[in-house]
Symmetry: C2
Subunit: 208 residues, 2 copies
């Protein structure tokens, strides 16, 4: 068994990436990295499930001790990816999903060049707006802000290797899994196999 891969999922706020990740974990065999944050837990959020909730002091200590593979500050809160879980899982051959922002994704790719970067989008902006409105919990102002943010995120889409459109949820989930399966079939990731099989063929032909 080789090392596991990091699968970095980013996407428009409102594209449904949280649901995609949830289904992916349910349906296929992935480990999920839980981020650390200094923001306060929201109603119903559980420490270690949605996030590891940390004080600013705890978070800074994590940074100091190299305990995060990437971190960033949004508004006044810190967010980061704990190193230990990720490194342990990939060492044991498991594929790990990280749902993170564009900036974090770029940091991950710089450190783990074989990380797979996937961007989840809606098929158009009308759909994104409709989904945000359908939540019924957000004001027009907030919706506008989220779409303005999507515009910034769209500028970064070119840095992703794969773009998956979340139109039909199940298809989107399967497409993400397909990307991981196909990455494992890439010739570049079959170096060991190629060496071995050529050797076996040589032995077969030479040896009998």
């Amino acid at each position: 068994m080789g090392k596991g891969r990091l699968i970095v999922i980013s996407g428009f706020s409102g594209a449904g990436k949280g649901t995609v990740v949830k289904k992916l974990i349910e349906k296929y065999d992935y480990s999920l990295s839980i981020s650390a944050t200094t923001r306060a837990p929201r109603e119903g959020e559980v420490d270690g499930r949605e996030y590891y909730f940390k004080t600013v002091e705890e978070f800074k200590s994590l940074i100091d001790y190299n305990g995060l593979i990437e971190w960033a500050q949004y508004v006044e809160n810190y967010y980061g990816t704990p190193r230990k879980f990720v490194e342990q899982e990939i060492a044991e051959g498991r594929n790990v999903i990280l749902e993170i922002e564009v900036q974090g994704a770029m940091n991950i790719k710089a450190q783990y060049p074989d990380a797979i970067l996937i961007f989840i989008a809606t098929k158009d902006i009308e759909t994104l707006e409709a989904r945000l409105k359908a939540r019924g919990t957000e004001s027009d102002e907030v919706i506008r802000k989220r779409i303005t943010r999507a515009a910034e995120e769209a500028d970064s889409m070119d840095s992703y290797e794969y773009i998956v459109i979340n139109d039909v949820l199940e298809e989107c989930v399967d497409a993400v899994h397909s990307i991981v399966v196909s990455e494992e079939c890439k010739k570049e990731n079959k170096t060991r196999f190629l060496i071995d099989i050529k050797k076996e063929l040589e032995d077969y032909i030479g040896g009998r």
Copy 2:
């Protein structure tokens, strides 16, 4: 709907690529290109199902009229891929499977740079030998020849983009399909989408 893709399947003789292709067609939505050949039909083979059986004169005429996208001669027989079906299918947005030899695969890639080249292998040579023996129809001499041929084919594996190991048939079939799905998600194949969504975002931000 964009253009369809060509999916070129090659592999070791005995790796089971014929069965993989058959299952792929049954399970997913692909068109299958039927090759033309001058070799005589074998027991049970039907014209237009396994091959289009042609006389040498007919085959040469196909070549002369640019009716084949690739052709090659093996031993004393000609084999080729009829152009009309392939071009019609991809123009109508369907993905077409071509089960062809290494040399033909290279010819296809030169003409259709977005063709997806997939090589089907067994996990090792012992397995390949065991499968050939299990057929029970082939002499040790023939088996030896086929494995010697596999050694030549292995030299060409580096020219393929994907290598799929046919260990569990169903998994192999799904892996090939995953490759096609993931290719459609590649950023390079989302150029139109990227242009459109950025334009929509600009309009949204600028327009309201």
